[in-house]
Subunit: 308 residues, 2 copies
């Protein structure tokens, strides 16, 4: 059942905008192609993609542009979970139709303090309405942002009701004890757990995880993918340590504008810096400081500039 | 400038759903007509309308149905603030085109910890892109749900930049000290402040407010509107006390399903109980208990059943 599933390292691909703040498909396709060349898959329309600042129509058009450009939908896990049921259904059905390996699904995140019964119904309605055996749902647990958690009892209930459709989870809680509990409870039965940051990549692989889905895979894809592929090697702990150094620098800034500032610099393309409100781009001093900190660690984005 | 503005009591109109969970325009129009008959205006597509569980298309169609049914758009303040800029622009422009008195605008609410600069840009982009002098924006401060606050410095900056478009605020903080601070700072210059519950109706009117926008105005519209109209009368404090008794009962349940349970009962229309996930309707025991508590206070919804 799980042999052909999408695994390893995925990036919530940052979404480039034109000066008028409309999405920029050309830059988007180029960045996705570069990520794939670094052995990183495409969790497009994640939190760090500013996906919730995009309309459903904008997401669908960008996804179509990737597929039209010849990128492999088997390496794609677009985010499709919205507040409104019809939007989640429409985006998920669209992704399945395009052949995407899976969809990463936020719970409806406006109403807070909702019950597991209500969240079960929310996911169940999407799965039933999409009604396609090819659908693979990855539950997206990101309580620091969504403020609506996906609990272990909810996972258990969804797996029991939809064992073929519910394929795994991204855990962006930043709480290893939660990730470990999910791994221990569900990974042995084939539930694919992706920690939401490479910080937990090695611990996750050792605990039965299948990779990670990480913002910083937008800028440091090769080394993160290398650890996922070689986590049993003797230098795995050293690799993890080097990844953590880069991650720590990035976390010293607001993540999304910092990712875009790094891509602007190493790609030689100032147009990448734009973000949609309510986010604000790094100012010149912040961007310079970020670049200097990364350079001091020997950081590079090999091949990025040549794709511009 | 402010003479013809929408004021008094408004209801975030609950949205009825058919058994397949699609919106039910007929029940919606009937409930809105009843609210208007009780001197309560229509803040359709608010938090208690499950607006964020509706797609943009569903909201626009429901609003068109109200106007087509002959209801006065001058008594409407639909919610139009979404996470994605193009959705907020589209909904706001649509409401203005239909002649709505104003729009109630949530900040983009997915990303947390965003700056006032980013939120200023978010509102400014919507106002600029709608680009219509008839637009009247009411800022929607509801930190317990949106988790993204609208601060006093942000209001000040928006008022300075867009004095004609930024007309007022709904304060659903539940924090009277915040409402009072907003009233003191901005009401004297014509900024219309609506507390987010009738709990603060009398205090708000005495402090320079213009009414309230309250979930429970869906079920108790007449008495709430009466206090707004007669707040200077000697029995105002007694009126407030009676409103508080009903509000307290409603707050003992999850608000949205409780509103729908009350409408189901007093309207003699079981079809009203449906909610969209992630919400869950009251069970039979809860609904019975709610009705009994309300009946014990002499509660009624006069004229509701005859509109069914």
């Amino acid at each position: 059942m799980s042999v052909d599933r999408i695994r390893g390292v995925l990036s919530p691909v940052v979404t480039p905008f034109k000066p008028d703040l409309s999405p920029d498909p050309e830059r988007f396709v180029r960045h996705c192609r570069w990520l794939l060349s670094q052995n990183v898959g495409l969790a497009a329309f994640g939190t760090n993609s500013e996906a919730n600042s995009l309309s459903a129509e904008e997401r669908m058009e960008l996804l179509e542009r990737l597929v039209e450009a010849g990128l492999d939908p088997g390496r794609m896990m677009p985010g499709t979970g919205c507040c409104a049921l019809p939007d989640s259904v429409r985006l998920s059905a669209h992704a399945v139709k395009l052949g995407c390996a899976g969809v990463l699904m936020l719970p409806p995140f406006y109403y807070k303090g909702v019950s597991d019964e209500g969240l079960f119904r929310a996911f169940a309605e999407v799965i039933e309405r999409v009604g396609d055996r090819r659908l693979r749902v990855y539950l997206y647990h990101i309580p620091p942002v969504a403020n609506v958690p996906i609990t272990l009892p909810l996972i258990e209930r969804l797996l029991k009701a939809y064992p073929d459709s519910v394929a795994g989870m991204k855990d962006s809680s930043g709480d290893w004890s939660n990730t470990k509990a999910v791994l221990d409870a569900f990974a042995p039965a084939g539930f694919d757990v992706f920690p939401g940051s490479e910080t937990f990549l090695l611990a996750g692989m050792r605990g039965g995880g299948v990779g990670c889905i990480s913002a910083t895979a937008n800028v440091n894809p090769g080394p993160i993918a290398r650890l996922a592929a070689t986590w049993k090697s003797p230098d795995a702990d050293n690799q993890q340590k080097r990844l953590d150094e880069i991650r720590t620098i990035m976390q010293g800034y607001v993540m999304i504008p910092a990712l875009k500032a790094a891509i602007s610099h190493w790609g030689g393309d100032a147009g990448w810096a734009a973000v949609r409100p309510p986010l604000v781009e790094l100012d010149a001093a912040q961007a310079s400081a970020l670049v200097a900190q990364l350079q001091a660690k020997g950081f590079d984005m090999p091949g990025l500039a040549s794709t511009r």
